[in-house]
């Protein structure tokens, strides 16, 4: 080590270690977004049930009249007894704030709790 910078190597190692820790933390925290998310089922304006988006499965949310499926962090209306089945045709949703509506049965299935990216989806 030089006389002017007695701890040069140690300083460089410290700087690199701090920067690397920052990068690692950034990636870890980014991954946290989806894990916090869940699916909220509402009947009219009341919350009926809540499911974690992390737990894959097929769930009856309305006495057999509406069934949702959660897979890979997304949810869709798997089946419904309504006449037009628009809710089923809407397919998968995954973004915080997105929702699927079964109008005749007055059921709303909404993604919530995660890192919201949009207020509305058209």
């Amino acid at each position: 080590m030089s006389r002017k910078h007695p701890t040069l190597i140690r300083d460089i190692v410290l700087i690199i270690a701090v920067l690397m820790a920052g990068v690692v933390l950034l990636f870890v925290l980014r991954g946290r977004n989806k894990e916090g998310s869940y699916v909220v089922v509402m009947f009219q304006n009341e919350e009926k049930a809540r499911y974690s988006l992390a737990l894959d499965g097929v769930y009856d949310i309305n006495d057999g009249k509406n069934v949702i499926e959660i897979l890979d962090g997304k949810v869709r209306m798997h089946d419904a007894d309504c006449p037009d089945r628009y809710c089923v045709r809407q397919g998968w949703i995954e973004y915080d704030g997105q929702s699927i509506i079964c109008l005749p049965n007055m059921i709303t299935v909404m993604v919530s709790g995660g890192d919201r990216t949009v207020d509305f989806v058209l």
Binding site: V18, N45, F120, V121
Partner: protein, 346 residues
């Protein structure tokens, strides 16, 4: 390194690390309050407040919006009549008969619709009812079918605002042609949303959003001054977003064939009928319009969906403060300059 210097560098680095960790992508602030309605305009509607107002104030505003939406839902309903009022269903049913006395605001609606028909050269036309009825029946039959060309051209002979007698003095409406009918579907939601917004604005309310079946009308900005972030679906992959954009104090409406459609022999048909072909419109996957007035946005998104890109762009350019996005069938995007400025991500 000098000890003080090293400490300073460490402090700065740790500070930067902290910033890196806490400064994630700016996340939209969730609505403080919201209420959903299922009974209006055959779709789901939602009123939300980002104004930070009290529960009591919000519920009162939500109740007035609900009452107003119910009023317009009934006025513009062409499938049911309601006690104590003459609505569009009444006017349609008495076509060829006596003039029907109606409320002043229905007269205003029809006059506005007539202006919009002229503005869009007939691409948004509430007098298209006779043709739209054929498609409504075809779509909703046990097994969907396509109306015949003969049926469609016959029906088209009973279209046109010249058949609608609007008496602004006596406050009556009369269809002179017994086979003509009105269908306000292309304009109703936007018009009602704007009426609701104007009511809130006249009471000094800001920071609210009315979402009438995907017809967004936001008032002002959120309480912290930030805009709302809207995502427009990629029609080919509806679970993905084609575009996200910032909006404030304006309306955003999208017309597309990817939500309400029907199929015949494996071919998908949109629900928007093009008056030039009398068939469901083709050419775009979706069209989105951003402008202040919701009724205008609804009108234009329907019209643009049925027009060529060049004609649509020409129309939009001729109007003040109207922005639009076209998503073509091949997935490519075209948008006006102002729309581009509002885009966050494509």
């Amino acid at each position: 390194m000098h000890l003080k210097c090293r400490r300073a560098v460490t402090a700065v680095l740790l500070f930067l690390l902290l910033m890196l960790v806490s400064c994630s992508r700016k996340t939209p602030q969730a609505a403080v309050r919201s209420e959903v309605f299922y009974s209006y305009f055959d779709t789901v509607s939602e009123i939300s407040s980002y104004a930070g107002d009290s529960e009591e104030a919000f519920r009162k505003n939500a109740a007035s919006v609900s009452a107003l939406l119910e009023h317009w839902h009934r006025m513009l309903d062409i499938y049911h009549e309601y006690d104590g009022m003459n609505n569009l269903c009444t006017v349609n049913m008495r076509a060829g008969g006596e003039p029907v006395p109606v409320d002043r605001d229905l007269i205003d609606f029809v006059l506005y619709a007539k202006d919009m028909c002229t503005l869009t050269s007939g691409e948004m036309d509430i007098s298209l009812g006779a043709v739209l009825r054929l498609w409504h029946e075809a779509r909703n039959a046990e097994a969907s079918y396509l109306p015949s060309d003969e049926q469609l051209s016959d029906a088209y002979r009973h279209v046109g605002f010249d058949r609608l007698e609007i008496d602004t003095q006596a406050c009556t409406l009369r269809l002179s042609d017994p086979l003509a009918s009105m269908d306000p579907g292309a304009l109703g939601k936007g018009y009602a949303a704007e009426e609701a917004a104007q009511m809130l604005i006249s009471e000094g309310i800001t920071g609210y959003v009315i979402n009438l079946g995907g017809n967004i009308r936001c008032i002002g900005t959120k309480a912290d001054g930030s805009p709302w972030i809207t995502g427009i679906r990629d029609p080919e992959n509806p679970e993905k977003l084609a575009v996200t954009l910032k909006i404030s104090d304006c309306s955003c409406v999208t017309s597309g064939g990817y939500e309400r459609f029907f199929s015949v022999n494996g071919v998908r048909y949109a629900h928007i009928i093009d008056k030039d072909t009398l068939y469901p419109a083709v050419g775009f996957s979706s069209v989105s319009v951003v402008c202040k007035d919701s009724a205008l946005a609804d009108t234009l998104s329907t019209a643009l969906f049925c027009m060529s890109y060049e004609d649509g762009l020409s129309l939009v350019s001729s109007l003040d403060d109207v922005q639009a996005l076209w998503i073509l069938d091949d997935g490519s995007l075209r948008y006006t300059k102002g729309f581009g400025l509002a885009i966050l991500k494509t």
